[in-house]
Symmetry: C2
Subunit: 318 residues, 2 copies
């Protein structure tokens, strides 16, 4: 197995590109793919200030590393979700990376700042944990980016993530989600610009990137995500990708090229109906935004203690 | 396990409907779902003459059985594809069913009528067998329906088939195919009306229908279809359906309700560009239609003999 570029021994095969790469040329491939995504979708301009959503996992740490190497003024934001040891460990990985790169990591702890954690919040709001968590993170990242004067929020969604989300949106024909499933969402209605520079790179490649760069990351899946639908969609796409390398890429980029515009109307209508939340000022279609309603419910609820049993892993039910 | 309707012992569970059924109420469910599909999509009017595409498999025989029971003037058309023992056996099942119902089965043998069979035709045209076969069948059915003065061609595509085709079309974002993936295609440009009355019923239900009605059918998969993409898409959807019963139904009917119209323009454009084939008169976007080109290549080629090896099963390559 030889590197496609230099013919030296390869360390990874990328079947989608029908090629193998040595360490250095694989790392260059990753940088080139990020540059290509940023340019193609006009995600960022040179010198812009970027807030990277850092979870401590492979994708967000690789993204932060890549943006720093590409010369962007990139700070990290780590949110303490309060999901037991998983969150404690994840925070450590984020901090260790920031120290190693002498980069600025902002930390916001949900319990300290807002008086709740994800297990308690999900249970109190009767939401699935991944739903309560995603909503909380989006709100905190948006607010931090606006308050901090950042030009954009960058998230570590990779090709596998985007393809799996797209499959879920297509299986349910969520018209409004389909209309805004783009690798870049411009600043609008009080929301900061959102960019996904890893959309041209697969999950496996981000793991390899971290290993080859010596970046330690949280390897475990979140214990609360176990058995969620997103993982089932990833499995389904993986079985198709094995048969047809490049299938995920074609699915996602074919959508962007030939389908997303057909669903834009629905999303634009939705965005126009937003007004500031009467409590926190965030843009929302309701009087009080979903985040403030979650906070209200969660802060009046009994805290949930995570234990290793399978019942607790599904949102603290006993 | 009790029947939802009569509380007698059930013989089948239908998870999508979250219900179990005894023999008689399951058969009624099948008839009701076919009636509902025919009415909802205005597929057929009482008394119309229908040509049923009969393969000898469970879906086409169940469809023919159901249409006869519902009072339609339904003849069958069986095409001899020349795929070795598989075709010989399939023809026998079709003939036995026709005799048992005293129904009219038209037979057209590709080798006798057109001078080729599917293994030879696929190889000569350098097409995948399923592609050459599908194209041949569509052409022969269309011509037979027009020549015989039938009001519509009915095919046994079930919910699993339509969902798998839809998944394939979505994974590749085949805009023009998406725009015409409908349960009924009206007569247009020289094409007969095409209807799919089984779209509300799953593959497993059609197998159960045949067993409960005592209809013998070809159980084997076509040996040339082994490993084709359509079956991989079915597998992927099956893993999702197990987790979320009703997922296939929601995927397909959600598409019809909220997405297909967004792709209609492409298909309408395509249909308008058709003209009669200069050889056979069938509507085609090219001077000579794809079927006539296949026939030309296939009839000048050396016939392929099917043997049980895996190489031959992929199109006669040796």
């Amino acid at each position: 197995m030889k590197c496609r570029v230099c013919r030296e021994p390869a360390v990874i095969d990328v079947r989608r590109h029908n090629a193998n790469f040595c360490r250095d040329h694989f790392l260059r491939l990753c940088r080139d793919q990020v540059t290509k995504a940023i340019d193609e979708f006009e995600m960022l301009q040179p010198g812009e200030r970027v807030l990277v959503a850092v979870s401590g996992g492979k994708d967000s740490l690789a993204l932060w590393d890549l943006l720093l190497d590409l010369g962007y003024d990139a700070d990290g934001l780590y949110i303490g979700l309060g999901i037991g040891d998983y969150s404690d460990d994840s925070g450590e990985y984020a901090r260790a990376f920031a120290r190693s790169r002498d980069a600025n990591l902002i930390e916001i702890d949900l319990r300290t700042e807002y008086g709740y954690d994800i297990p308690t919040g999900a249970r109190a709001a009767r939401r699935k944990p991944c739903s309560a968590c995603g909503m909380s993170k989006r709100h905190v990242f948006d607010a931090a980016a606006i308050d901090g004067g950042y030009d954009a929020v960058a998230t570590g969604h990779n090709l596998d993530d985007e393809a799996a989300v797209l499959l879920g949106n297509v299986l349910h024909w969520h018209e409004e989600y389909l209309g805004r499933q783009l690798p870049v969402l411009p600043e609008h209605n009080g929301f900061p610009r959102k960019v996904k520079p890893l959309v041209r790179l697969a999950e496996r490649e981000m793991a390899a990137y971290c290993v080859l760069r010596g970046i330690d990351y949280q390897v475990d899946e979140c214990p609360m995500a176990e058995g969620n639908r997103h993982l089932a969609y990833k499995d389904a796409l993986n079985t198709i990708e094995v048969r047809s390398p490049g299938a995920k890429h074609d699915f996602y980029f074919g959508f962007l090229a030939r389908a997303v515009e057909r669903f834009r109307d629905d999303s634009i209508d939705l965005a126009e109906a937003l007004a500031p939340c009467t409590r926190c000022g965030a843009p929302t279609p309701t009087e009080v935004c979903a985040f403030c309603r979650l906070v209200e419910r969660a802060t009046t609820a009994q805290p949930v203690t995570l234990s290793p049993g399978p019942a607790t892993a599904r949102g603290g039910a006993r």
